[in-house]
């Protein structure tokens, strides 16, 4: 039961307090590059989740066999293997979505967040905890991507998941590529604002 509690903690940590996109500010490239729709965010999120969970588990299983001096190349090759798997799977079963995401699926191999989790967590903790940590981080990334995609798709084309919701297009600017920077910047500022507001209200209560 204790394990159950800690697994929930690990997941919530990945989504909220250590969200890879908004808090750790890692793996920003896809967050800006292809977050034009919720669907793109969801698919890339699934891909990252898959790679993160499987490489975390792999490294955690073999952590005692990896010589510390060659640990970074080992991590890189492990990630590359799992990226190849998800890359080929997506290309075979979802060719249209794969074409939209372009080079970014292959670029998961260079995402700092995955290497960082392997270095900081999976190489030290047990297989079980690594699994939950990987799941939490992957979900956090997915949620972040989908939030940005939600804002951009709703404001840019007035739709969610491709279904017309608003019936008009409020600001075409948001589906233009360069708007990604603005949306991420503004959302980070928004989360900072909430944090400052929260701390201040807490301080007043005390």
């Amino acid at each position: 039961m204790a394990n159950d509690k800690s697994s929930m903690q690990l997941i919530s940590r990945g989504i909220l307090s250590e969200n890879p996109i908004f808090k750790l500010a890692l793996s920003m490239c896809p967050a800006v590059g292809i977050s034009t729709t919720v669907m793109n965010g969801l698919l890339l999120g699934i891909a990252v989740l898959f790679v993160q969970v499987f490489s975390s588990v792999t490294i955690s299983i073999f952590k005692n066999l990896i010589h510390p001096r060659i640990r970074i190349p080992t991590y890189t090759l492990t990630i590359a293997t799992w990226v190849t798997v998800i890359d080929l799977v997506l290309a075979a079963y979802l060719p249209e979505a794969y074409a939209k995401m372009g080079i970014f699926v292959k670029l998961i191999v260079a995402f700092a967040i995955i290497t960082m989790r392997l270095e900081m967590f999976a190489s030290k903790e047990s297989v079980n905890d690594s699994f939950w940590d990987g799941l939490g981080m992957g979900l956090g990334f997915m949620v972040g991507m989908m939030t940005i995609g939600f804002v951009r798709e709703l404001l840019g084309s007035g739709a969610i998941f491709g279904y017309d919701v608003l019936g008009f297009k409020p600001l075409l600017f948001f589906i233009l590529p360069s708007a990604g920077f603005f949306v991420v910047g503004l959302m980070m500022a928004f989360f900072n604002w909430i944090e400052i507001f929260y701390k201040r209200s807490k301080g007043l209560k005390r």
Partner: protein, 313 residues
């Protein structure tokens, strides 16, 4: 390697590239060039017959590699002095390819054949400019943002980082090209792309690190710190993936890598200049740090949109 040798090698390579331009034969057709992607202009040494040149049935035009696919003309118009004719095509041409044009019955000769192509050097330069400005890796392709935001605080750091990046990128791209064309393709190992490329990139970084440490310790002391950052970066791995997608040859690969590295250097330098100013500015507390950096980068990205459609050659 000695610097003088390098200079000779570069000169020889340039001569080889320029050779077709010098060797062009003089004849009935003086000059031929692409006006736009749907027009070709041909200039003759003297006035030609209007009836022959304006009849589109007299032309056979195809791209050099596939003579069976004929390109269709919509019209041909002779200029007033009778010396130059402009050919209008129904569909846009691939101006990067060499086009072969045959005219029947011109000046009493049964067949006059000539080719139209962009100068290859111009095409290579086009790839460079494209990777540098039009498809800038940071502002238009959104790659390498972690390092971009991490190291664009000071101008010196930005310059050092950019130079190291360009160096590693060119070396690793050329190596990846070699591996891709001579190992991955012949043995049908295309699915190993990601594993091989990431391995090569890490290897290059490690090699540059070791070589620089021995050969030029001063340079290593100023640049060495950035090398570690280079490995976990998507710009560097993106270049081999792009060249594999587009089947570039070795010159094109070199130009792409150089342009990508130069573009990264440019982006870092621009961003660091703004960052230095921003430290003096009065920024709202919620926007301090990354949020404002993102908004500045967004403005740069909008400015870089202005480069789209730029065509020099």
């Amino acid at each position: 390697m000695n610097l003088a040798y390098t200079r000779y090698i570069v000169l020889t390579a340039l001569l080889f590239l320029l050779a077709p331009i010098f060797a062009r034969a003089e004849g009935l057709v003086v000059n031929q060039k692409f006006i736009s992607d749907k027009e070709i202009q041909v200039t003759f040494s003297g006035p030609v017959d209007k009836a022959v040149t304006e009849n589109i049935q007299n032309y056979t035009i195809y791209e050099e590699p596939d003579p069976d696919i004929r390109l269709e003309l919509s019209s041909a118009v002779l200029a007033d002095d009778g010396k130059s004719v402009t050919l209008f095509f129904k569909e846009p041409l691939n101006t990067a390819k060499t086009h072969v044009i045959t005219v029947h019955g011109l000046a009493g000769i049964d067949k006059t054949t000539f080719t139209v192509s962009k100068s290859y050097l111009g095409y290579l330069f086009g790839i460079l400019i494209s990777a540098l400005l039009i498809n800038n890796f940071v502002f238009t392709k959104y790659l390498g943002l972690c390092v971009f935001f991490g190291t664009s605080k000071k101008k010196d750091t930005a310059k050092g980082m950019g130079v190291v990046f360009t160096m590693v990128m060119v070396v690793s791209a050329l190596m990846s090209w070699f591996f891709y064309n001579f190992i991955l393709i012949p043995f049908d190992l295309n699915f190993l792309q990601i594993v091989v490329f990431i391995g090569l990139v890490s290897l290059t970084v490690q090699a540059v690190d070791t070589i620089l440490r021995k050969v030029n310790p001063i340079l290593f002391n100023s640049f060495g710190v950035y090398l570690v950052l280079v490995i976990a970066n998507c710009v560097i791995i993106a270049v081999p993936l792009i060249l594999a997608n587009n089947n570039y040859n070795v010159f094109e690969t070199f130009m792409l890598a150089l342009g990508a590295g130069g573009g990264f250097l440019l982006a870092l330098y621009l961003m660091s200049s703004v960052s230095e100013r921003m430290q003096l500015a009065n920024i709202p507390k919620t926007f301090k740090g990354l949020p404002i950096a993102f908004i500045v980068a967004g403005q740069f990205a909008m400015a870089f949109l202005g480069f789209s459609g730029l065509q020099l050659f």
